[in-house]
Subunit: 193 residues, 2 copies
Amino acid sequence: MKPLGRRPGRNDTADQILVAARELFSERGYARTTIRAVAAQAKVDPALVHHYFGTKDALFDAAVELPVDPRAVFGDLPSQPGLLGPELVRRVVSVWDQPEIREGLRGMIGSALTHEGAAETLREMLTRGLLPVLRDLAIDDRRDWRAELVASQMAGVILARYVVALPGLGRASTEDLAAAIGPTITRYLTGRL
Amino acid sequence: MKPLGRRPGRNDTADQILVAARELFSERGYARTTIRAVAAQAKVDPALVHHYFGTKDALFDAAVELPVDPRAVFGDLPSQPGLLGPELVRRVVSVWDQPEIREGLRGMIGSALTHEGAAETLREMLTRGLLPVLRDLAIDDRRDWRAELVASQMAGVILARYVVALPGLGRASTEDLAAAIGPTITRYLTGRL
């Protein structure tokens, strides 16, 4: 199965470098991560890192780019409010259940919490990349606010399921999550259940 | 006003050391944080760190202890479902709006995302400290699951408001948050609005 919403393109070496960059930026923060260290972690020559990504700044930008395209993930959602929320939950879970995407996103959130610049990067990325997509799903009344409420509930589930791995949310089936959290998403987007 | 649910006790020097320890554990992770560095950050003699907390392990445990007592924060909540959720949101926001407590909690979450041992510590702390309190507020049907759902929504709001500082959730009044998110909490705890 083609992974849902996975960005197309780059080759394996570039992907390897990005995975390594996310790990190191997340572990060490921006300041303590060097191109050399990223190359070593990715098992490639530092010249290749420069070749694919240029400066450390540009590498950082590429590493924190959302590894999935929100427009693809949230395309063609059902318009009936009762189905919209649960389906949105299913889509988010199906993206995060892919280990490679999960690690990339986890790294970004970790950076955001431990590195001032990365928090800003994550905010920019969310407000430009994810929130406009959620905004378009909301009714025409405080759309930006509704999008943020949805993002907050999904972020919390992600934290509980994939980072902290709580006993219930960590092991719940996609359908259990859709049934429990779907109505919340529906209410945030549409004001009704 | 006495800060809501603040743990009583320790003196200023010990508090200073804890604040410094949370910052460093969060920034550098457990392995790269030394007693000496914590002492320097807290502007005290390393011997004082040993005096108050003993080993680095014990200092870590003290630093990741919840800086507030969940039983105090969530005591005497209204029993009417319609009031319960909003009031719970108000209590959480009033704790996190205190900068010192916020920094402590932020540090813990940052560690959890970047440091494997700390994720486990955070999970233990939540499952022992916070979730049992939320569990007692839930109706007698899948109580543990309900407590985790509440924790997930509150964690997401905290992430959006205090860490990423989204434009809407970052600036919303306590009452706007209680009105928007309160019904979600009510539904998770009681199954109805």
